[in-house]
Protein backbone atom coordinates (compact mmCIF):
# COMPACT_ATOMS: atom_id res chain seq x y z
CA UNK A 1 0.00 0.00 0.00
CA UNK A 2 1.42 3.37 -1.02
CA UNK A 3 1.33 6.18 1.50
CA UNK A 4 1.47 9.71 0.21
CA UNK A 5 1.51 13.06 1.97
CA UNK A 6 1.04 16.19 -0.12
CA UNK A 7 1.83 19.61 1.32
CA UNK A 8 0.65 18.44 4.71
CA UNK A 9 0.61 21.03 7.50
CA UNK A 10 -0.74 20.74 11.02
CA UNK A 11 -0.97 23.15 13.91
CA UNK A 12 -1.72 22.20 17.50
CA UNK A 13 -4.18 24.39 19.44
CA UNK A 14 -4.61 26.72 16.50
CA UNK A 15 -5.38 30.28 17.58
CA UNK A 16 -4.70 29.46 21.25
CA UNK A 17 -1.81 30.73 23.37
CA UNK A 18 0.21 27.56 22.77
CA UNK A 19 -0.18 27.52 19.00
CA UNK A 20 2.60 25.54 17.44
CA UNK A 21 3.15 24.34 13.89
CA UNK A 22 3.90 20.65 14.18
CA UNK A 23 4.00 19.94 10.45
CA UNK A 24 4.93 22.42 7.80
CA UNK A 25 4.34 21.59 4.16
CA UNK A 26 5.42 17.95 4.29
CA UNK A 27 5.35 15.94 1.06
CA UNK A 28 6.53 12.35 0.82
CA UNK A 29 5.77 9.08 -0.93
CA UNK A 30 6.40 5.74 0.73
CA UNK A 31 6.19 2.93 -1.79
CA UNK A 32 4.44 -0.37 -1.30
CA UNK A 33 6.72 -2.77 0.53
CA UNK A 34 9.35 -0.22 1.51
CA UNK A 35 11.09 -0.21 4.89
CA UNK A 36 11.67 3.45 5.74
CA UNK A 37 12.91 5.29 8.80
CA UNK A 38 11.99 8.71 10.17
CA UNK A 39 14.35 10.48 12.56
CA UNK A 40 14.24 13.88 14.22
CA UNK A 41 14.59 15.32 17.71
CA UNK A 42 11.63 15.27 20.12
CA UNK A 43 8.99 17.71 18.97
CA UNK A 44 10.21 17.74 15.36
CA UNK A 45 6.85 16.44 14.14
CA UNK A 46 7.45 12.70 13.61
CA UNK A 47 4.63 11.46 15.81
CA UNK A 48 2.21 14.03 14.40
CA UNK A 49 3.11 12.91 10.89
CA UNK A 50 2.65 9.19 11.45
CA UNK A 51 -0.63 9.70 13.29
CA UNK A 52 -1.96 11.02 9.97
CA UNK A 53 -1.13 7.72 8.29
CA UNK A 54 -3.81 5.76 10.12
CA UNK A 55 -6.37 8.49 10.39
CA UNK A 56 -5.80 9.27 14.04
CA UNK A 57 -5.28 12.85 12.94
CA UNK A 58 -7.12 14.14 9.91
CA UNK A 59 -5.38 16.49 7.49
CA UNK A 60 -6.31 20.09 8.08
CA UNK A 61 -4.16 21.48 5.31
CA UNK A 62 -2.78 19.31 2.50
CA UNK A 63 -3.60 15.70 1.70
CA UNK A 64 -2.82 12.20 2.94
CA UNK A 65 -3.56 9.25 0.68
CA UNK A 66 -3.27 5.68 1.96
CA UNK A 67 -3.64 3.04 -0.76
CA UNK A 68 -6.70 4.26 -2.63
CA UNK A 69 -8.24 6.07 0.33
CA UNK A 70 -7.94 9.84 0.46
CA UNK A 71 -7.91 10.65 4.18
CA UNK A 72 -8.50 14.30 3.45
CA UNK A 73 -12.00 13.51 2.21
CA UNK A 74 -14.76 14.30 4.69
CA UNK A 75 -16.21 10.79 4.55
CA UNK A 76 -12.92 8.90 4.41
CA UNK A 77 -13.25 5.28 5.50
CA UNK A 78 -11.15 5.59 8.65
CA UNK A 79 -12.22 2.21 9.97
CA UNK A 80 -10.67 0.35 7.05
CA UNK A 81 -7.55 2.51 7.23
CA UNK A 82 -7.07 1.66 10.90
CA UNK A 83 -7.11 -2.07 10.27
CA UNK A 84 -4.72 -1.76 7.32
CA UNK A 85 -2.28 0.62 8.95
CA UNK A 86 -1.17 -0.63 12.35
CA UNK A 87 0.32 2.00 14.61
CA UNK A 88 2.43 1.19 17.65
CA UNK A 89 2.46 4.28 19.81
CA UNK A 90 5.39 5.88 21.49
CA UNK A 91 4.05 4.92 24.91
CA UNK A 92 2.57 1.53 24.02
CA UNK A 93 2.04 0.55 27.64
CA UNK A 94 -0.95 2.90 27.56
CA UNK A 95 -2.47 0.60 24.96
CA UNK A 96 -2.67 -2.35 27.36
CA UNK A 97 -5.86 -2.79 29.32
CA UNK A 98 -7.09 -6.40 29.23
CA UNK A 99 -6.91 -8.99 32.01
CA UNK A 100 -4.10 -10.98 30.48
CA UNK A 101 -1.40 -10.21 27.97
CA UNK A 102 -2.88 -12.89 25.71
CA UNK A 103 -6.29 -11.20 25.65
CA UNK A 104 -4.65 -7.88 25.02
CA UNK A 105 -2.90 -9.17 21.93
CA UNK A 106 -6.12 -10.87 20.83
CA UNK A 107 -8.17 -7.68 21.16
CA UNK A 108 -7.93 -6.45 17.55
CA UNK A 109 -8.35 -9.82 15.81
CA UNK A 110 -11.38 -10.60 18.01
CA UNK A 111 -12.91 -7.25 17.10
CA UNK A 112 -12.15 -7.85 13.46
CA UNK A 113 -14.36 -10.93 13.70
CA UNK A 114 -11.87 -13.76 13.29
CA UNK A 115 -12.68 -17.24 14.57
CA UNK A 116 -11.18 -18.32 17.91
CA UNK A 117 -8.77 -20.65 16.06
CA UNK A 118 -7.59 -17.86 13.77
CA UNK A 119 -7.31 -15.44 16.67
CA UNK A 120 -5.21 -17.92 18.54
CA UNK A 121 -2.93 -18.44 15.56
CA UNK A 122 -2.42 -14.73 15.16
CA UNK A 123 -1.68 -14.25 18.85
CA UNK A 124 0.86 -17.06 18.91
CA UNK A 125 2.61 -15.80 15.79
CA UNK A 126 2.74 -12.20 17.03
CA UNK A 127 4.04 -13.28 20.45
CA UNK A 128 6.75 -15.34 18.79
CA UNK A 129 7.82 -12.42 16.61
CA UNK A 130 8.37 -10.17 19.63
CA UNK A 131 9.81 -12.86 21.89
CA UNK A 132 7.08 -13.18 24.53
CA UNK A 133 6.93 -16.53 26.32
CA UNK A 134 3.77 -18.52 27.12
CA UNK A 135 4.30 -17.73 30.78
CA UNK A 136 4.16 -13.98 30.17
CA UNK A 137 1.07 -14.35 27.94
CA UNK A 138 -0.95 -15.53 30.92
CA UNK A 139 0.11 -12.69 33.20
CA UNK A 140 -1.76 -9.45 33.74
CA UNK A 141 -0.28 -6.57 31.71
CA UNK A 142 0.15 -4.74 35.01
CA UNK A 143 2.43 -7.43 36.40
CA UNK A 144 5.14 -7.44 33.79
CA UNK A 145 8.29 -5.38 33.38
CA UNK A 146 8.58 -2.28 31.19
CA UNK A 147 10.24 -4.09 28.32
CA UNK A 148 7.72 -6.91 28.42
CA UNK A 149 4.87 -4.37 28.16
CA UNK A 150 6.45 -2.87 25.09
CA UNK A 151 6.73 -6.26 23.41
CA UNK A 152 3.10 -6.99 24.26
CA UNK A 153 1.96 -3.72 22.70
CA UNK A 154 3.87 -4.40 19.48
CA UNK A 155 2.43 -7.92 19.35
CA UNK A 156 -1.07 -6.45 19.71
CA UNK A 157 -0.62 -4.45 16.52
CA UNK A 158 1.11 -7.28 14.64
CA UNK A 159 -1.86 -9.52 15.42
CA UNK A 160 -4.02 -7.22 13.27
CA UNK A 161 -1.92 -8.39 10.36
CA UNK A 162 -1.76 -4.88 8.90
CA UNK A 163 -0.50 -4.02 5.40
CA UNK A 164 1.46 -1.11 6.76
CA UNK A 165 3.17 -1.16 10.11
CA UNK A 166 4.10 2.14 11.73
CA UNK A 167 6.23 1.94 14.86
CA UNK A 168 6.96 5.01 16.93
CA UNK A 169 10.09 4.30 19.01
CA UNK A 170 9.40 0.56 19.31
CA UNK A 171 12.69 -0.32 20.94
CA UNK A 172 12.82 2.29 23.70
CA UNK A 173 13.14 0.48 27.01
CA UNK A 174 14.11 -2.84 25.46
CA UNK A 175 17.31 -4.57 26.49
CA UNK A 176 19.96 -4.91 23.75
CA UNK A 177 19.00 -8.49 22.97
CA UNK A 178 15.33 -7.54 22.81
CA UNK A 179 16.12 -4.64 20.52
CA UNK A 180 17.99 -6.89 18.11
CA UNK A 181 15.23 -9.46 18.33
CA UNK A 182 12.46 -6.96 17.50
CA UNK A 183 14.41 -5.43 14.63
CA UNK A 184 15.32 -8.85 13.23
CA UNK A 185 11.67 -9.85 13.60
CA UNK A 186 10.58 -6.78 11.64
CA UNK A 187 13.13 -7.42 8.90
CA UNK A 188 12.00 -11.02 8.62
CA UNK A 189 8.33 -10.03 8.51
CA UNK A 190 9.13 -7.44 5.87
CA UNK A 191 11.07 -9.92 3.76
CA UNK A 192 8.51 -12.69 4.02
CA UNK A 193 5.26 -10.77 3.69
CA UNK A 194 6.28 -7.64 1.81
CA UNK A 195 4.63 -5.49 4.46
CA UNK A 196 5.44 -1.77 4.39
CA UNK A 197 7.26 -0.72 7.55
CA UNK A 198 7.76 2.81 8.84
CA UNK A 199 10.12 3.03 11.77
CA UNK A 200 10.37 6.19 13.86
CA UNK A 201 13.37 6.08 16.15
CA UNK A 202 16.03 7.94 18.11
CA UNK A 203 18.23 4.86 17.92
CA UNK A 204 20.63 5.84 15.18
CA UNK A 205 22.29 2.42 15.15
CA UNK A 206 18.93 0.66 14.88
CA UNK A 207 17.94 2.80 11.90
CA UNK A 208 21.28 2.31 10.16
CA UNK A 209 20.99 -1.45 10.51
CA UNK A 210 17.44 -1.84 9.22
CA UNK A 211 15.90 0.76 6.91
CA UNK A 212 16.26 1.13 3.15
CA UNK A 213 15.50 4.82 3.09
CA UNK A 214 15.38 7.54 5.68
CA UNK A 215 13.66 10.89 6.25
CA UNK A 216 15.06 13.48 8.65
CA UNK A 217 12.63 15.95 10.22
CA UNK A 218 13.30 19.25 11.89
CA UNK A 219 10.76 21.84 13.05
CA UNK A 220 7.92 20.18 11.22
CA UNK A 221 9.71 19.91 7.88
CA UNK A 222 11.55 17.18 6.05
CA UNK A 223 15.14 18.41 5.85
CA UNK A 224 16.98 15.38 4.45
CA UNK A 225 16.09 12.19 2.64
CA UNK A 226 18.19 9.30 1.37
CA UNK A 227 19.74 5.96 2.20
CA UNK A 228 21.15 5.64 5.73
CA UNK A 229 24.62 5.96 4.23
CA UNK A 230 23.77 9.19 2.43
CA UNK A 231 22.10 10.69 5.49
CA UNK A 232 24.65 9.70 8.12
CA UNK A 233 27.48 10.93 5.91
CA UNK A 234 26.11 14.38 6.70
CA UNK A 235 26.44 13.85 10.43
CA UNK A 236 27.72 17.34 11.18
CA UNK A 237 24.44 18.72 9.86
CA UNK A 238 22.59 16.10 11.90
CA UNK A 239 24.30 17.27 15.09
CA UNK A 240 23.14 20.82 14.38
CA UNK A 241 19.53 19.65 14.55
CA UNK A 242 19.84 17.60 17.72
CA UNK A 243 20.67 14.25 16.14
CA UNK A 244 23.80 12.24 15.72
CA UNK A 245 25.27 9.37 13.71
CA UNK A 246 26.31 5.91 14.91
CA UNK A 247 29.71 6.01 16.70
CA UNK A 248 31.33 3.86 13.99
CA UNK A 249 30.37 6.46 11.36
CA UNK A 250 32.26 9.14 13.24
CA UNK A 251 35.25 6.89 13.80
CA UNK A 252 35.71 5.94 10.15
CA UNK A 253 35.14 9.52 9.01
CA UNK A 254 37.84 10.76 11.37
CA UNK A 255 40.27 8.00 10.55
CA UNK A 256 39.86 7.70 6.81
CA UNK A 257 37.40 10.40 5.72
CA UNK A 258 35.10 7.66 4.40
CA UNK A 259 31.35 7.12 4.87
CA UNK A 260 29.91 3.98 6.45
CA UNK A 261 27.03 3.52 8.86
CA UNK A 262 27.01 -0.01 10.25
CA UNK A 263 29.38 -2.01 12.39
CA UNK A 264 30.07 -4.61 9.72
CA UNK A 265 30.83 -1.92 7.14
CA UNK A 266 33.27 -0.35 9.61
CA UNK A 267 34.94 -3.68 10.22
CA UNK A 268 35.34 -4.40 6.50
CA UNK A 269 36.72 -0.94 5.89
CA UNK A 270 39.33 -1.15 8.63
CA UNK A 271 40.37 -4.65 7.61
CA UNK A 272 40.72 -3.40 4.04
CA UNK A 273 42.96 -0.52 5.05
CA UNK A 274 45.09 -2.45 7.51
CA UNK A 275 45.23 -5.50 5.25
CA UNK A 276 46.48 -3.35 2.39
CA UNK A 277 49.29 -1.89 4.50
Amino acid sequence: MVIRAENLSYTYSEGGPFERAALNDVSMTIKDGEFVGIIGHTGSGKSTLVQHFNGLLQPVSGRVIVGDIDLSAKKADLKTVRTKVGLVFQYPEHQLFEETVRRDIAFAPVNMGFSPVEVNERVERAARLVGLSEEILDKSPFEISGGQKRRAAIAGVLAMDPEVLVLDEPTAGLDPHGRKEILAGLLKLHRETGITVILVSHGMEDIADTVQRLYVMNMGRIVMEGTPLEVYARYEELEEIGLTAPPVTKLIKRLYGADICTLSQAKEYILGVIGRA
Partner: protein, 283 residues
Protein backbone atom coordinates in the same frame (compact mmCIF):
# COMPACT_ATOMS: atom_id res chain seq x y z
CA UNK B 1 24.58 5.35 51.53
CA UNK B 2 22.52 2.32 50.49
CA UNK B 3 23.08 -1.21 51.61
CA UNK B 4 21.15 -4.37 50.88
CA UNK B 5 21.73 -7.53 52.93
CA UNK B 6 20.45 -10.80 51.48
CA UNK B 7 17.59 -8.88 49.88
CA UNK B 8 14.88 -11.14 48.45
CA UNK B 9 11.55 -10.15 47.01
CA UNK B 10 8.51 -11.35 45.09
CA UNK B 11 5.38 -9.44 44.18
CA UNK B 12 2.87 -12.10 45.22
CA UNK B 13 2.71 -15.66 46.34
CA UNK B 14 1.65 -16.97 42.94
CA UNK B 15 5.09 -16.13 41.59
CA UNK B 16 6.95 -19.43 41.68
CA UNK B 17 10.44 -17.91 41.65
CA UNK B 18 11.79 -14.89 43.47
CA UNK B 19 12.02 -11.62 41.53
CA UNK B 20 15.07 -10.64 43.59
CA UNK B 21 17.18 -13.30 45.20
CA UNK B 22 19.74 -12.75 47.89
CA UNK B 23 21.12 -9.41 46.76
CA UNK B 24 24.05 -7.97 48.67
CA UNK B 25 24.98 -4.57 47.36
CA UNK B 26 26.61 -1.56 48.95
CA UNK B 27 26.47 1.82 47.28
CA UNK B 28 28.81 4.32 48.87
CA UNK B 29 28.11 8.00 49.29
CA UNK B 30 29.23 9.94 46.21
CA UNK B 31 29.31 6.96 43.83
CA UNK B 32 27.88 7.00 40.30
CA UNK B 33 26.53 3.50 39.69
CA UNK B 34 24.85 2.25 36.52
CA UNK B 35 22.56 -0.77 36.75
CA UNK B 36 22.06 -2.80 33.59
CA UNK B 37 20.28 -6.09 32.97
CA UNK B 38 17.84 -7.80 30.63
CA UNK B 39 14.12 -6.94 30.60
CA UNK B 40 12.56 -8.42 33.69
CA UNK B 41 15.90 -8.97 35.44
CA UNK B 42 14.66 -7.00 38.45
CA UNK B 43 16.26 -3.56 38.02
CA UNK B 44 13.11 -1.54 38.71
CA UNK B 45 12.15 -3.86 41.54
CA UNK B 46 15.59 -3.44 43.09
CA UNK B 47 15.76 0.34 42.88
CA UNK B 48 12.24 0.70 44.28
CA UNK B 49 13.70 -0.77 47.46
CA UNK B 50 16.12 2.15 47.66
CA UNK B 51 13.48 4.60 48.83
CA UNK B 52 11.00 2.23 50.40
CA UNK B 53 8.48 2.14 47.54
CA UNK B 54 8.90 -1.60 48.00
CA UNK B 55 9.94 -3.35 51.21
CA UNK B 56 12.05 -6.51 51.32
CA UNK B 57 10.45 -9.88 51.83
CA UNK B 58 13.68 -11.40 53.03
CA UNK B 59 16.83 -9.61 54.16
CA UNK B 60 17.22 -5.93 54.91
CA UNK B 61 17.76 -2.65 53.05
CA UNK B 62 19.46 0.24 54.82
CA UNK B 63 19.39 3.83 53.59
CA UNK B 64 21.89 5.97 55.48
CA UNK B 65 21.82 3.31 58.14
CA UNK B 66 18.02 3.37 58.46
CA UNK B 67 16.18 0.07 57.98
CA UNK B 68 13.61 0.82 55.25
CA UNK B 69 11.03 -1.18 57.19
CA UNK B 70 11.09 1.43 59.94
CA UNK B 71 7.86 3.28 59.10
CA UNK B 72 8.60 6.10 61.50
CA UNK B 73 11.61 7.03 59.34
CA UNK B 74 9.87 6.93 55.95
CA UNK B 75 10.12 10.70 55.61
CA UNK B 76 13.89 10.64 56.17
CA UNK B 77 14.32 7.88 53.60
CA UNK B 78 12.23 9.61 50.92
CA UNK B 79 14.03 12.89 51.57
CA UNK B 80 17.43 11.20 51.26
CA UNK B 81 16.72 9.22 48.09
CA UNK B 82 14.71 10.74 45.24
CA UNK B 83 13.39 8.84 42.20
CA UNK B 84 13.07 9.80 38.53
CA UNK B 85 11.21 7.52 36.11
CA UNK B 86 11.16 6.83 32.38
CA UNK B 87 8.18 8.78 31.11
CA UNK B 88 8.75 12.51 31.56
CA UNK B 89 5.07 13.25 30.94
CA UNK B 90 3.81 11.31 33.94
CA UNK B 91 6.10 13.02 36.41
CA UNK B 92 5.34 16.69 36.04
CA UNK B 93 2.22 17.70 37.93
CA UNK B 94 2.00 21.51 37.82
CA UNK B 95 1.25 23.86 34.93
CA UNK B 96 4.31 26.05 35.50
CA UNK B 97 7.86 24.76 35.83
CA UNK B 98 8.66 26.50 39.13
CA UNK B 99 5.49 25.18 40.77
CA UNK B 100 6.45 21.73 39.77
CA UNK B 101 9.87 22.02 41.35
CA UNK B 102 8.29 23.51 44.50
CA UNK B 103 5.71 20.74 44.77
CA UNK B 104 7.50 18.30 47.06
CA UNK B 105 9.08 20.79 49.49
CA UNK B 106 5.72 22.59 49.72
CA UNK B 107 4.04 19.34 50.65
CA UNK B 108 6.60 18.86 53.38
CA UNK B 109 5.88 22.26 54.85
CA UNK B 110 9.19 23.92 54.02
CA UNK B 111 9.04 27.71 54.62
CA UNK B 112 8.14 29.74 51.47
CA UNK B 113 11.33 31.83 51.45
CA UNK B 114 13.40 28.66 51.70
CA UNK B 115 11.35 27.07 48.90
CA UNK B 116 12.02 30.07 46.64
CA UNK B 117 15.75 29.65 47.22
CA UNK B 118 15.68 25.93 46.60
CA UNK B 119 13.62 26.22 43.43
CA UNK B 120 15.91 28.84 41.92
CA UNK B 121 19.03 26.96 42.85
CA UNK B 122 17.71 23.59 41.62
CA UNK B 123 16.64 24.98 38.26
CA UNK B 124 20.00 26.68 37.90
CA UNK B 125 21.85 23.46 38.68
CA UNK B 126 20.05 21.56 35.92
CA UNK B 127 20.43 24.48 33.53
CA UNK B 128 16.73 25.31 33.28
CA UNK B 129 16.57 28.75 34.96
CA UNK B 130 15.32 30.47 31.85
CA UNK B 131 12.29 28.17 31.78
CA UNK B 132 11.14 29.00 35.34
CA UNK B 133 7.79 30.39 34.17
CA UNK B 134 7.24 28.05 31.23
CA UNK B 135 4.56 25.37 30.90
CA UNK B 136 6.17 21.92 31.34
CA UNK B 137 4.17 20.33 28.53
CA UNK B 138 5.85 22.59 25.98
CA UNK B 139 9.35 21.48 26.94
CA UNK B 140 11.37 18.83 25.11
CA UNK B 141 11.76 15.40 26.71
CA UNK B 142 15.27 16.16 27.95
CA UNK B 143 14.12 19.45 29.45
CA UNK B 144 11.19 17.73 31.18
CA UNK B 145 13.51 15.19 32.74
CA UNK B 146 15.80 17.97 33.95
CA UNK B 147 12.81 19.68 35.57
CA UNK B 148 11.92 16.37 37.22
CA UNK B 149 15.50 16.15 38.51
CA UNK B 150 15.25 19.76 39.78
CA UNK B 151 12.09 18.77 41.67
CA UNK B 152 14.10 16.14 43.48
CA UNK B 153 17.04 18.45 44.09
CA UNK B 154 14.65 20.80 45.87
CA UNK B 155 14.31 18.09 48.50
CA UNK B 156 18.07 18.30 49.11
CA UNK B 157 18.61 14.57 48.63
CA UNK B 158 21.80 12.60 49.20
CA UNK B 159 21.07 10.25 46.35
CA UNK B 160 19.07 10.28 43.12
CA UNK B 161 17.85 7.04 41.59
CA UNK B 162 16.83 7.20 37.93
CA UNK B 163 14.99 4.32 36.27
CA UNK B 164 15.66 4.60 32.52
CA UNK B 165 15.35 8.39 32.52
CA UNK B 166 16.58 8.68 28.93
CA UNK B 167 14.67 5.84 27.25
CA UNK B 168 12.21 8.21 25.58
CA UNK B 169 14.69 10.95 24.71
CA UNK B 170 16.47 11.94 21.53
CA UNK B 171 20.28 12.00 21.44
CA UNK B 172 20.55 15.61 22.61
CA UNK B 173 18.03 15.04 25.40
CA UNK B 174 20.03 12.02 26.53
CA UNK B 175 23.23 13.98 26.55
CA UNK B 176 21.61 16.81 28.56
CA UNK B 177 20.41 14.41 31.22
CA UNK B 178 23.69 12.49 31.48
CA UNK B 179 25.73 15.72 31.64
CA UNK B 180 23.43 16.95 34.39
CA UNK B 181 23.94 13.74 36.37
CA UNK B 182 27.71 13.89 35.98
CA UNK B 183 27.68 17.46 37.22
CA UNK B 184 25.47 16.70 40.24
CA UNK B 185 27.76 13.83 41.09
CA UNK B 186 31.08 15.63 40.77
CA UNK B 187 30.11 19.11 41.96
CA UNK B 188 27.45 18.42 44.55
CA UNK B 189 28.64 15.00 45.65
CA UNK B 190 25.19 13.50 45.07
CA UNK B 191 25.12 9.73 44.79
CA UNK B 192 23.67 8.64 41.45
CA UNK B 193 22.06 5.29 40.62
CA UNK B 194 21.18 5.09 36.93
CA UNK B 195 19.20 2.21 35.45
CA UNK B 196 19.74 2.08 31.68
CA UNK B 197 19.69 -0.10 28.57
CA UNK B 198 22.10 2.23 26.82
CA UNK B 199 25.61 0.90 27.15
CA UNK B 200 27.23 4.19 26.16
CA UNK B 201 25.48 5.78 29.13
CA UNK B 202 26.62 3.06 31.47
CA UNK B 203 30.16 3.93 30.42
CA UNK B 204 29.77 7.39 32.03
CA UNK B 205 29.33 5.75 35.43
CA UNK B 206 32.28 4.78 37.59
CA UNK B 207 30.74 1.44 38.46
CA UNK B 208 28.45 -0.92 36.58
CA UNK B 209 26.25 -3.50 38.29
CA UNK B 210 24.82 -6.20 36.03
CA UNK B 211 21.60 -7.93 37.10
CA UNK B 212 20.36 -11.19 35.68
CA UNK B 213 17.35 -13.23 36.77
CA UNK B 214 17.03 -11.27 39.98
CA UNK B 215 20.64 -11.60 41.12
CA UNK B 216 23.84 -9.56 40.81
CA UNK B 217 25.82 -11.18 38.01
CA UNK B 218 28.72 -8.76 37.58
CA UNK B 219 29.94 -5.67 39.42
CA UNK B 220 32.94 -3.55 38.46
CA UNK B 221 34.38 -0.64 36.54
CA UNK B 222 32.90 -0.06 33.05
CA UNK B 223 36.17 -1.09 31.45
CA UNK B 224 36.29 -4.36 33.37
CA UNK B 225 32.66 -5.14 32.59
CA UNK B 226 32.51 -4.20 28.92
CA UNK B 227 35.59 -6.08 27.83
CA UNK B 228 33.63 -9.27 28.59
CA UNK B 229 31.76 -9.15 25.31
CA UNK B 230 30.72 -12.82 25.11
CA UNK B 231 29.50 -12.96 28.67
CA UNK B 232 27.38 -9.82 28.33
CA UNK B 233 25.86 -11.10 25.10
CA UNK B 234 24.95 -14.33 26.81
CA UNK B 235 23.12 -12.24 29.40
CA UNK B 236 21.03 -10.54 26.70
CA UNK B 237 23.12 -7.40 26.93
CA UNK B 238 25.61 -5.69 24.67
CA UNK B 239 28.68 -3.50 24.77
CA UNK B 240 29.12 0.01 23.33
CA UNK B 241 29.24 -0.16 19.52
CA UNK B 242 32.88 0.94 19.47
CA UNK B 243 33.86 -1.76 21.97
CA UNK B 244 32.13 -4.36 19.83
CA UNK B 245 34.01 -3.15 16.75
CA UNK B 246 37.34 -3.50 18.57
CA UNK B 247 36.34 -6.95 19.75
CA UNK B 248 35.48 -7.98 16.16
CA UNK B 249 38.79 -6.61 14.90
CA UNK B 250 40.78 -8.43 17.54
CA UNK B 251 39.04 -11.64 16.49
CA UNK B 252 40.36 -11.00 12.98
CA UNK B 253 43.85 -10.92 14.43
CA UNK B 254 44.23 -7.14 14.57
CA UNK B 255 46.15 -6.17 17.65
CA UNK B 256 43.84 -3.66 19.36
CA UNK B 257 43.10 -3.46 23.08
CA UNK B 258 39.64 -4.84 23.82
CA UNK B 259 38.78 -2.46 26.65
CA UNK B 260 38.18 0.50 24.39
CA UNK B 261 34.96 2.36 25.14
CA UNK B 262 34.85 5.60 23.12
CA UNK B 263 35.41 6.93 19.60
CA UNK B 264 38.47 8.88 20.79
CA UNK B 265 40.13 5.82 22.28
CA UNK B 266 39.46 3.79 19.14
CA UNK B 267 40.79 6.58 16.98
CA UNK B 268 44.04 6.61 18.94
CA UNK B 269 44.47 2.85 18.90
CA UNK B 270 43.82 2.53 15.17
CA UNK B 271 46.00 5.53 14.25
CA UNK B 272 48.83 3.94 16.17
CA UNK B 273 48.50 0.75 14.16
CA UNK B 274 48.45 2.70 10.94
CA UNK B 275 51.55 4.71 11.89
CA UNK B 276 53.29 1.54 12.88
CA UNK B 277 52.42 -0.06 9.55
CA UNK B 278 53.63 3.00 7.65
CA UNK B 279 56.89 2.83 9.60
CA UNK B 280 57.31 -0.79 8.58
CA UNK B 281 56.79 0.03 4.92
CA UNK B 282 59.34 2.82 4.97
CA UNK B 283 62.12 0.78 6.59
Amino acid sequence: MIKTENLSFKYNNEQESLVLEDINLTIEKGEFVAIIGHNGSGKSTLVKHFNAILLPEGGTVYVKGIDTRDESRLYDIRQAVGMVFQNPDNQLVATIVEDDVAFAPENLGVAPSEIRKRVDRSLETVGMSEYTHHAPHLLSGGQKQRVAIAGILAMKPDCIVLDEPTAMLDPIGRREVIQTLLKLNSEEGITIVLVTHNMDEAVSAERVVVLSEGGVEMDGKPREIFCQVERLKALGLAVPQITELMYELSREGINVPCDILTVDEAYNALSQIENYNKGLKRS
